[in-house]
C-alpha cells in the first residue's frame, strides 16, 4: 500500500520534472543557438572587417633611410661624405613611463640640459610611435652599457645611422652647403623625412640636389607581436642610396686661392669656355660640421652679428655696384646703338658739369681727347658720362642683361641673387622719373646697380668668348656628366666680333700697355697675356671739402673706403679662365684687386699645368 502511494507520488514528481526539464533544456538549446548565431555573424558576416583588423595588428611597415649621396670635387675627392653614427633612440609608446626611462637612461649615458629640452620638445611634436634621437655619436663603451642595461630601458633602441661629414670643414661650405634637421617647410611629402636623424640640405649643392642626394627610402614590412617586437620580415624594399654629385671645383686649388684671400674678399674663377665654376672664394666662411650636432645660440649670434657675414656666400649673394668694370657694357651699348664710333673722340677736362652738379673724373687733370680704347684703358670717367647720356640707361641695361648682369643666371647654387641693373621702367615703378642726369653716374657703373661677383665673372667670360656662357657647379650626377655644357652649346651673344675685339684689346691694354690702369695685373712670361678691367666703387660720397684737403681713400676709416674690383680673362689669345675679384673696402681696383686677380690667375694656371688643361669634361673625353 505504501509502495503504491509512493509509486504514484513518484510518477507525479517525474511528470513535473520532465516538463520542467524539457523547458530548461529548450531554453539552453535556444542559448546555444544564440551562440552559434553570434559565431556566424562574427566569423562570416563581419569576417572581412576583422581579417583586416587582424592584419593591421600584425603588420608594421618601417622605413629605412638611404645613405645620402656624397659630393665629390673635380678630382673625385670627397667634400661631403657620411660617417657611421651610433645613436640611442626612444620610442615613447613602447614605455609605460617616459620620464622613468629617461631618468634610467641618463644614469647610463648623461644627457645635457640642451638634450633634455630638445627631447621634451620632440616628445610633444612627434607621434608616439616615431623614434626620437636621445643621443648621437655614442662611444663603444656607452653602446655596451646601454645593451647590458636594455631590460631596464623599455622603449630605448640603439642603431647605427649615417651622419654628414665635411672633411674640408669651412673650405668648401659656400659651394657644398650643409645639412640640418628638416623643418616644417622642408616636408615635401617624403615620409623618410620623419625618421630620426634625417637631414636636409640647407645651402649650395646639398640644397640644390637634395632629392638626388637623398635617394629613395627603403621599406620593410614586418610582422610584429602585441608589444611591437618584430617576429619576422615579410617584405623588403631596399633603399636606393642617394647619388653622388661631382662638382667642378678642385679642392686643392680652391684651398690655395682661399689661403691668399683676406676677409671681405671674393674671388670667382670660371672656365671662360664652358662656364664651369673653377672656384668661388668668399671670405670668411664657417665650418658646416658644427651643424651636424647642432649650433649653439652663441655661435649663431657670432656668425650673424658680424659685418663680415661668414654664413653668406658673397660670390653669389653679395651685391655691389660694378664701378668701372661696367664700362665695357656702356661702350658696347654705344657701339650697338651707333651713338658713337670706335674712333670718335670725347674730350675730358677732369670733370663734367651738368644740371648744376660737377661730376669728376678720377684723373683731376683730365685725359684730353680720348677714343674708346683709350677711354677704357685709362678708365676715363668723363668719356663714359658723355656716352651714357647719348646712349640712355635702357640700352645700357639691355646690353648688361645680355652679359649676365641683373638677370637670373640659373646657377646651381640656390639663393643666388639676381642683382639689379636699373632701367627707366624700374625707376618709374618706384614712382620717380628717370632724370637725364641719372645716366651720368650709371655710365661709370655707380648708382643703383646691384651686381654679384659671379655675374661679373660671367660678364668677363662672355666678353672673352662672345657666347652666353652660364656658370655652373655640377659636373656629374651619379657618374653621368651633365649634358649641354660644351662651349658650343652656349648661344652666341650676337655682338659684332669687331666690337668685342675692341673691348678685349682695350682690356689687354689696361694690363699690358703704358697708361693702363692695371699694370700690376700683368702676367709673367709663360702664362699668356692678361686682359682685365679695374673698378673702384665709392661707398660714400667724397665731398668737395675733402677733395680740396687732398682726399686719400687710404686714410679714411675702413668701412668708408671704396670697394676694389677687377674683372679679367686670360690668356688673351685663347681665353681659358675668367676671374672677378671683389675686395670689400679694398680702396682701389688697380692697386689691390688687380694683383689679387693676377695671383689667382697664376695659381689656377699653375695648378692645372701639371694636370690636363682645366680637366677635360668626361663627356668630351669620351667623344674623343
Amino acid at each position: 500500500m505504501i509502495g503504491h502511494t509512493a509509486r504514484r507520488e513518484e510518477e507525479h514528481r517525474r511528470g513535473i520534472f520532465t516538463r520542467r526539464a524539457i523547458g530548461l533544456g529548450l531554453g539552453q538549446l535556444g542559448l546555444f543557438g544564440y551562440l552559434a548565431h553570434r559565431l556566424w555573424s562574427i566569423q562570416q558576416q563581419e569576417g572581412e572587417k576583422y581579417t583586416l583588423l587582424a592584419e593591421e595588428n600584425r603588420l608594421s611597415a618601417r622605413l629605412m633611410s638611404s645613405p645620402r649621396g656624397r659630393v665629390l670635387d673635380r678630382q673625385g675627392r670627397v667634400v661631403a661624405g657620411n660617417k657611421l653614427n651610433w645613436r640611442a633612440l626612444l620610442v615613447p609608446e613602447q614605455t609605460q613611463d617616459v620620464a622613468a626611462t629617461l631618468a634610467t637612461f641618463s644614469k647610463i649615458v648623461p644627457l645635457t640640459e640642451q638634450d633634455n629640452a630638445r627631447v621634451e620638445r620632440e616628445l610633444r611634436r612627434r607621434r608616439r610611435f616615431v623614434p626620437l634621437v636621445l643621443r648621437e655619436f655614442l662611444s663603444w663603451e656607452e653602446m655596451a652599457r646601454l645593451e647590458v642595461n636594455a631590460p631596464d630601458l623599455p622603449g630605448i633602441l640603439t642603431d647605427v645611422g649615417h651622419t654628414r661629414i665635411y672633411p674640408e670643414g669651412p673650405e668648401m661650405v659656400h659651394l657644398v652647403g650643409y645639412v640640418a634637421p628638416p623643418a616644417e617647410r622642408d616636408m615635401d611629402g617624403d615620409p623618410v623625412l620623419a625618421l630620426p636623424g634625417m637631414r636636409v640640405g640647407r645651402q649650395g649643392i646639398e640644397r640644390f640636389h637634395e632629392k638626388v642626394l637623398r635617394g629613395r627610402a627603403g621599406a620593410v614590412q614586418l610582422e610584429v607581436n602585441v608589444v611591437g617586437r618584430v617576429i619576422r620580415e615579410l617584405d623588403r624594399r631596399e633603399p636606393l642610396p642617394g647619388e653622388d654629385i661631382q662638382i667642378s671645383v678642385d679642392t686643392e686649388l680652391h684651398k690655395k686661392l682661399r689661403a691668399k684671400a683676406k676677409e671681405g674678399t671674393t674671388i670667382c674663377v670660371l672656365d671662360a669656355k664652358n662656364g664651369e665654376i673653377v672656384s668661388l672664394v668668399s671670405q670668411p666662411s664657417f665650418d658646416p660640421n658644427v651643424f651636424t650636432s647642432g649650433v649653439s645660440a652663441a655661435q649663431w649670434k657670432a656668425w650673424t652679428a658680424t659685418r663680415s657675414t661668414p654664413l653668406i656666400n658673397k660670390a653669389t649673394n653679395g651685391l655691389y655696384a660694378p664701378g668701372s668694370t661696367f664700362k665695357m657694357m656702356v661702350a658696347l651699348a654705344g657701339l650697338e646703338a651707333k651713338v658713337i664710333g670706335p674712333h670718335d673722340r670725347i674730350s675730358c677736362h677732369g670733370h663734367l658739369d651738368f644740371g648744376g652738379n660737377r661730376f669728376h673724373c678720377h684723373n683731376r687733370r683730365g685725359h684730353g681727347a680720348v677714343d674708346m680704347r683709350v677711354a677704357l684703358k685709362a678708365s676715363c670717367d668723363v668719356y663714359f658720362y658723355q656716352l651714357a647720356m647719348r646712349c640712355g640707361i635702357d640700352r645700357i641695361a639691355a646690353m648688361a642683361n645680355r652679359f649676365g648682369l641683373g638677370v637670373d643666371l640659373e646657377i646651381d647654387l640656390p639663393g643666388t641673387r639676381r642683382g639689379l641693373v636699373p632701367t627707366k621702367a624700374w625707376r618709374q615703378a618706384q614712382g620717380k622719373p628717370w632724370n637725364l642726369g641719372d645716366n651720368i653716374i650709371h655710365g661709370i657703373g655707380q648708382g643703383w646697380y646691384q651686381i654679384t661677383p659671379i655675374a661679373l665673372a660671367t660678364m668677363s667670360a662672355r666678353l672673352a668668348t662672345g657666347r652666353a656662357v652660364q656658370p655652373h657647379l655640377t659636373r656629374a650626377i651619379g657618374g653621368k656628366p651633365v649634358p649641354g655644357r660644351r662651349p658650343e652649346d652656349f648661344p652666341s651673344l650676337n655682338i659684332p666680333e669687331r666690337d668685342l675685339q675692341l673691348m678685349r684689346s682695350a682690356m689687354y691694354g689696361i694690363c699690358n700697355e703704358g697708361g693702363g690702369t692695371a699694370p700690376l695685373a700683368r702676367l709673367p712670361a709663360g702664362y699668356g697675356a692678361m686682359a682685365g678691367k679695374t673698378g673702384s666703387v665709392q661707398v660714400r660720397r667724397v665731398t668737395r671739402a675733402q677733395r680740396e684737403r687732398g682726399y686719400s681713400a687710404e686714410r679714411v676709416p675702413r668701412e668708408w673706403r671704396p670697394h676694389a674690383l677687377f674683372v679679367c680673362f686670360a690668356p688673351y689669345n685663347d681665353p681659358q679662365y675668367a676671374i672677378s675679384v671683389v675686395i670689400e673696402h679694398g680702396i682701389a681696383g688697380g692697386k689691390y684687386a688687380a694683383p689679387a686677380a693676377r695671383d689667382a690667375m697664376m695659381t689656377v694656371m699653375n695648378h692645372f699645368r701639371g694636370l690636363a688643361p682645366a680637366g677635360p669634361r668626361v663627356a668630351e673625353s669620351r667623344a674623343g
Binding site: I2, G3, H4, T5, A6, R7, E9, E10, H12, R13, R14, I16, F17, T18, R20, A21, G23, L24, G25, Q28, L29, L31, F32, Y34, L35, A36, R38, L39, W40, I42, Q43, Q44, E46, G47, K49, Y50, T51, L53, A54, E55, N57, R58, E223, V224, N225, V226, V227, I231
Partner: protein, 382 residues
C-alpha cells in the same frame, strides 16, 4: 505495473556487481568527453607552440581525471546522496578558508594553493550545492515542495555560498551559483510564481546593488555595453578576441597559423580565451563543431536525467548539466562579446588543473547517476 517494479527490485537484490556496473557506464558519453579533451589538446598545442608548454600536461590531467571519473561512477548513488551534506559543508569550509588564506588573483581571493593544484573552491562548491539540493529535494513530495517553510533551508543553502563568493569578490560565479540552484529548484517542482517573485525582487534590487559593485565590476559592465569605449583598457580583450574570431572566417587560418593567438594579441589565450584559438585557426566550421560537441554533452546530461528513476539522480543530472551549460555559455558568450567578461574557463578545453578536476568530478557523478539509474531510494515522505 507493480510486477515490473518488483522484478527490478529483485534484480538489485541479486547483487549489482562491479563488473556489471562498469558495463553500465555510458561509454558514448565517455567518448564524447575524450573528443572534447582532444580538441583542448589541439588548441593548447597551438597556444603553447608545441606540446610541452600546455598540451601534454593537459592530457596527463585529463588522464587522471578520467580515472577519477570512472571511480566515482562506481560509487553507489545512495551513498553519495547520504553524504551530500558533508560535501556541502566541505565546500563552505573551503570558501571560508579561501577568504582567510586564499591567493589573490586579479583583485579577488579565489585560489587555495594545494601544491600541485590551485584549487578554486567556488567551482567545487557548485557541484556540492547541486548534490546537497538534490538530496534535500529527493525525499520531498510535490505537496511538500509547495510548502514555503520547506524551501527556506534550501534557499539558505544557496545564499550562504553565494555570499561567500561575492565576498571574494566574484560576481559572475556568484550569479552562476544562483542560476544552478535555481535550475535545481525548477526541476524539483518549486511553484513558478515563486520564481516570478524572486526575479521581480532581483529586478528591483539590481540598480541598488550596482551602486555597491566594485569599480572593476562596474567597468566590466560598462565596457560590455560599449567595448570600443576603452580599446586599450578593459575593452581590449573583447576587441582582440572578436578580431581573432572574425579573421578566422569560415575555414580558419590553419593549425598553428593564427596570427592573433601566436603574436600574443589574444589575452589569456590558453585559459579563458582558448575558444578563440580554435575559432581563429579552424574557422567557423571548427567553432561550430566544438560548440556542437559541447551541446551534445548537455544533451547527454538531460538524457541521463530523463532515464533516471529517482529524483536525486534526476536533479543531480539537471544541476550538473546546467552547470556545464553555464560554463560553455558564459565562456563563449564572453569571447564573442555577447556577455560581460566573466573569467570562466571552457571545460575540458581550457588550461587549468582545478577546472579539470571539478569538471571530471561532475562527469563522475553524472555517470554514477547513469550507472545507478534504477536503484531504489527509501520512499518519499508525504
Amino acid at each position: 505495473m507493480s510486477g515490473v517494479y518488483e522484478r527490478r527490485l529483485l534484480t538489485e537484490d541479486r547483487g549489482f556487481g562491479l563488473l556489471q556496473k562498469f558495463w553500465q557506464v555510458p561509454w558514448g558519453f565517455a567518448l564524447l568527453i575524450c573528443a572534447l579533451a582532444a580538441i583542448g589538446y589541439t588548441a593548447l598545442y597551438s597556444a603553447g607552440g608545441g606540446p610541452e608548454v600546455y598540451a601534454s600536461k593537459h592530457a596527463i590531467r585529463f588522464g587522471f581525471g578520467f580515472v577519477m571519473m570512472l571511480t566515482i561512477a562506481m560509487i553507489d548513488i545512495r551513498i553519495i546522496a547520504r553524504f551530500a551534506w558533508l560535501g556541502y559543508l566541505l565546500g563552505i569550509a573551503l570558501l571560508v578558508l579561501v577568504l582567510l588564506h586564499g591567493n589573490v588573483g586579479k583583485g579577488a581571493q579565489r585560489w587555495i594553493d594545494l601544491g600541485p593544484l590551485q584549487l578554486q573552491p567556488s567551482e567545487l562548491m557548485k557541484i556540492m550545492l547541486v548534490l546537497a539540493l538534490a538530496a534535500w529535494f529527493q525525499r520531498a513530495s510535490y505537496e511538500r515542495v509547495g510548502n514555503p517553510l520547506f524551501l527556506v533551508p534550501a534557499v539558505l543553502m544557496i545564499l550562504l555560498p553565494m555570499g561567500l563568493i561575492l565576498k571574494q569578490p566574484n560576481l559572475g560565479t556568484a550569479l552562476i551559483t544562483a542560476m544552478i540552484g535555481g535550475a535545481v529548484f525548477l526541476a524539483a517542482g518549486v511553484r513558478l510564481w515563486k520564481f516570478a517573485i524572486v526575479l521581480g525582487g532581483a529586478g528591483f534590487l539590481v540598480p541598488l546593488a550596482y551602486e555597491h559593485l566594485r569599480d572593476y565590476q562596474k567597468a566590466r559592465i560598462r565596457i560590455f555595453l560599449n567595448p570600443e569605449s576603452d580599446p586599450l583598457g578593459a575593452g581590449y580583450n573583447i576587441i582582440q578576441s572578436k578580431i581573432a574570431l572574425g579573421s578566422g572566417g569560415l575555414w580558419g587560418k590553419g593549425f598553428l597559423q593564427g596570427t592573433q593567438g601566436h603574436l600574443n594579441f589574444l589575452p589569456e589565450k590558453q585559459t579563458d580565451f582558448i575558444f578563440t584559438m580554435i575559432a581563429e585557426e579552424f574557422g567557423l566550421v571548427g567553432a561550430l563543431g566544438t560548440l556542437a560537441l559541447l551541446l551534445a554533452v548537455v544533451v547527454f546530461c538531460f538524457l541521463i536525467a530523463f532515464r533516471c528513476r529517482h529524483q536525486f539522480g534526476r536533479l543531480v543530472a539537471i544541476g550538473l548539466g546546467t552547470n556545464f551549460f553555464l560554463y560553455v555559455f558564459v565562456n563563449i558568450g564572453m569571447v564573442t562579446g555577447s556577455i560581460p567578461v566573466g573569467g570562466v574557463p571552457l571545460p575540458l578545453i581550457s588550461w587549468g588543473g582545478s577546472a579539470m578536476l571539478t569538471t571530471m568530478l561532475g562527469f563522475g557523478l553524472l555517470m554514477s547517476v547513469q550507472v545507478h539509474r534504477d536503484v531504489e531510494f527509501a520512499a518519499a515522505r508525504e
